[in-house]
């Protein structure tokens, strides 16, 4: 798998979450994703960027235009150095929240993409990577 293009965006404020949405939209449009796929990617990215801000105390998003075996895709990786997630399985269940939200963020984001990978360690942080293929 080859990374064609990459960009890193800081997530420190609510305005940065909006910037992440705009960047993912622009990249998805560049890759000629259909409107529904674009919307799914942007929505998933919005949920994860907010998680990084609220639960992780801020972090960063890395956008990558990737190519594998002739197919193109967009991968977005969210990273924070927050407290980590104690029970990932529970966190992926709908309705689970520790922050007063709806608890749809992680599980919902997972449903909106083709690939979803999560690494987390208590006291060290969380990294979530989502990929959607064309």
């Amino acid at each position: 798998m080859a990374v064609v293009k990459a960009e890193r965006l800081e997530i420190r404020t609510e305005g940065d979450v909006v910037q992440v949405r705009h960047a993912v939209r622009a990249w998805a449009a560049d890759l000629r994703f259909g409107l529904v796929d674009q919307t799914k990617l942007v929505t998933a990215a919005s949920e994860l960027a907010r998680n990084a801000l609220i639960y992780g105390g801020g972090g960063a998003a890395r956008l990558e235009s990737i190519e594998d075996d002739g197919r193109r895709g967009l991968r977005v990786t969210f990273e924070d150095q927050g407290p980590g997630i104690a029970d990932v399985e529970a966190a992926l269940r709908d309705g689970f929240t520790t922050g007063g939200g709806l608890g749809l963020g992680l599980g919902g984001a997972k449903r909106l993409v083709n690939e979803f990978d999560i690494w987390t360690a208590i006291g060290q942080g969380t990294r979530v990577a989502i990929t959607r293929w064309k």
Binding site: K40, L102, R111
Partner: protein, 148 residues
Amino acid sequence: MERIPILKMGDFLLVTIQVDMHDRLAMTLQDDLTTRINQSGARGVLIDISSLDVVDSFIGRMLANIASMARVLDAEAVVVGMQPAVAITLVELGLSLPGVRTALNVEKGMVLLRAATDTAPTASFGDRAASAGEAPSPLGGGDGGRQG
């Protein structure tokens, strides 16, 4: 401070969301709308989201909250103009917005609001008037305090 404008037209409040809202802006709109319903005695709220190309769980929750708060304040809220791609994504995200009235566009939304706010008070007023002869309702005139 940045705010989404709320227009008043007769008994209704109209909101058109034209910017990609950050979370605090969405919360401010929710608070502003609730305050305005209370102050103005509006019977209906129409929220046009046709310019929104993303509705994530936070914005979705805001829309659901506005609908609930409006109902508690004796008003009806209707969300109009949701883009198809947004609707597909919302449902897949797990948010089907139960309790939120929707319409395809502003015109249909206004028809829905008029129907909802016309029939509800008239019917209950009519019932009350009809039974007034036998047993005056202690609640009689309760709606009278509501002024547009």
